[in-house]
């Protein structure tokens, strides 16, 4: 698989029964049922994980890094998404979760909330220097970047070119750790822990970096059991740990994983937060039509309620969200990053994209405009013959998509169970 077409989401063929749940859930209509199994189009998939959420047969999986794969490194560093702090009940504090990660084999663990605060401050500096265009769209959600590249190519220039906290954190650690530890950079593994099915995609084929600073991403779901057992074994240590809090959590950065959290710390700019993949697309349609120009930043995350609604978390997102909100309230407005440091890093372009996100070539009905026009007209005629039940039995998510597949040569009218064979022969008639 080439880096360009790397996808994290894949179908486990043995589990797939060829039902229609994922067909309708896919926001880019990338899935078809072929020979009784779901097949995902490389071109159209944006790795949002909607199919993974709805599959009743556990047939959709996401490629993430296995814990065992970390043995390849001499020194293992974890930078967990702040979503992890919301996964455990019983008043377990972030410091305990971080030390549990050390106990299960990470040599060092870093909290991301401070880097989230840094990102927020850097974003405001960028906005102050760039009064146009409006709105800028944040790039934290890798799926949003990929949707824009494919469906809203004219908005590529509106993606705010500051790397998200996970990459900034990894870049900082990659800069300081080899010298501090005397270990060659390539022997140090820096791993993100995430509820997201798309982070592996942004690590393997980054849209705005020449190379990701992260070595992998472990799904919270995969590592959760180990953390729980480490927490169980260390209740006494946890008590002691409370008395010597070692990490300063940022109040501004703590809520980053909740929708609106990226921009909550803004002092001078106006932001709107959107979550959920369909709502994100609806609002991006409005931006492309020229609306929302009075907004400085549009924060989009395709998971419901933000990263806290990621498909690879364990706890239901409502509980996780409530716990994180408690942490946010406890941390208050505490800032842990010196604005001067932010400014210095910002002006050295340490936080910037290596290159802008570029449009991914679209997929018209035909490269020849006259042929494309004829195919579009034929597609309308075919659609008129279909039952509009959007049942999915033909293998396409809906009748309109089947008509599209037919003119692209990927399906036949006979695939529709409602079009009678007698009618199917009229295909010649409707064909020019």
């Amino acid at each position: 698989m080439s880096a360009k077409n790397f996808h994290s989401i894949h179908i486990t063929k043995d589990n797939c029964v060829g039902c229609v749940h994922c067909l309708g859930a896919c926001p880019t209509r990338a899935i078809r049922i072929r020979d009784g199994r779901a097949v995902i189009s490389d071109e159209l998939c944006i790795d949002c994980g909607e199919c993974l959420r709805v599959c009743p047969y556990d047939a959709v999986h996401s490629h993430t890094t296995s814990f065992a794969a970390l043995d390849a490194f001499d020194y293992k560093v974890a930078i967990p998404s702040t979503v992890l702090y919301g996964q455990f009940g019983g008043g377990i504090l972030p410091t305990e979760i971080l030390s549990a990660l050390r106990r299960i084999g990470f040599d060092e663990v870093y909290d991301l909330s401070s880097i989230c605060e840094l990102n927020c401050a850097a974003t405001e500096e960028y906005l102050a220097e760039h009064p146009r265009p409006r709105p800028f769209i944040t790039s934290t959600c890798p799926v949003v970047v990929r949707i824009i590249q494919r469906r809203y190519p004219s908005l590529c220039g509106q993606i705010l070119p500051i790397e998200p906290p996970r990459e900034i954190a990894a870049k900082i650690l990659r800069t300081i750790l080899p010298k501090a530890l005397g270990i060659p950079a390539e022997r140090i593994g820096i791993i993100h822990l995430t509820p997201c099915s798309a982070k592996m995609v942004s690590i393997n084929s980054p849209a705005t970096l020449n190379k990701s600073y992260l070595d992998g991403a472990i799904s919270i779901r995969d590592i959760f059991p180990q953390i729980v057992s480490a927490l169980r074994k260390s209740e006494e240590d946890a008590l002691m740990g409370h008395l010597f809090p070692e990490t300063q959590f940022s109040g501004i950065g703590m809520g980053w994983s909740l929708s609106g959290g990226e921009t909550r710390g803004f002092k001078h700019h106006k932001a709107v937060a959107v979550s959920g993949v369909r709502d994100t697309m609806r609002v991006l349609d409005q931006v492309e039509a020229g609306l929302l120009q009075d907004i400085d930043v549009l924060e989009c995350t395709v998971c419901p309620d933000g990263c806290v609604g990621g498909p690879l978390e364990v706890e239901n997102r409502f509980l996780a969200k409530s716990r994180i909100l408690q942490l946010v309230a406890a941390a208050g407005e505490r800032a842990v990053v010196d604005p001067k440091d932010v400014s210095r890093l910002y002006h050295r372009n340490f936080l910037s994209f290596d290159h802008p996100a570029t449009p991914v070539e679209s997929n018209p009905l035909d490269r020849d405009p006259a042929k494309a026009i004829r195919k579009a007209a034929r597609r309308d005629r075919i659609f008129a013959m279909l039952p509009k039940k959007d049942c999915g039995v033909c293998g396409a998510p809906d009748c309109r998509t089947l008509a599209d597949d037919i003119v692209r040569g990927r399906a036949r009218l006979g695939d529709c169970p409602f079009v009678k064979p007698a009618k199917a022969t009229t295909r010649k008639k409707e064909k020019r």
């Binding site: 349609d285 039509a289 020229g290 494309a372 026009i373 599209d404």
Partner: protein, 149 residues
């Protein structure tokens, strides 16, 4: 548009006051133009012009219709409405001029940028309006055109 050319036609009905469907036609047009292989910037210009024209009908007219015609060279968006018409077209073309009601403004509409925005994003804009009867906007967007300033 020459008669012999391949032309794709599609009609979209519009209802005045139907704010729940605001922008739906513009999105459909945008998707069609992408399928027809137009470049991203031309599609965006058409999307903005179509959106503004669609909103004019929804905000001011009783009913209307968008007719999309696409040839290999040009996109024609013709919007007909039955409505109050525009009494002073020249004034309506002024940036910031608007007859929107306070309710519309509260919803974020009526900034007086509609027609100027259509002009900016189209290569030809022709307005034919009769007071008390209705308005016809003829918008032409050329592939790789640049709009009017």
């Amino acid at each position: 548009m020459a008669a012999a050319e391949a032309v794709f036609h599609q009609d979209f009905p519009l209802k005045g006051g139907d704010f729940a469907k605001a922008g739906v036609v513009a999105v459909r047009i945008k998707e069609l133009l992408k399928d027809l292989g137009l470049d991203a910037m031309t599609v965006r210009r058409a999307a903005i012009a179509a959106y503004e024209a669609e909103m004019n009908v929804i905000m001011y007219a009783w009913e209307g219709r968008v007719d999309l015609a696409v040839s290999p060279e040009e996109v024609h968006i013709t919007v007909d409405d039955h409505g109050p018409g525009i009494s002073d077209v020249e004034l309506a073309m002024t940036e910031g001029y608007s007859t929107a009601t306070p309710e519309m403004r509260e919803m974020g509409f009526g900034a007086g940028m509609g027609l100027p925005n259509i002009k900016k994003n189209s290569d030809i804009l022709h307005i034919d309006s009769r007071a008390g009867k209705g308005t016809r906007l003829k918008i032409v967007i050329r592939r790789n055109g640049h709009g009017q300033s």
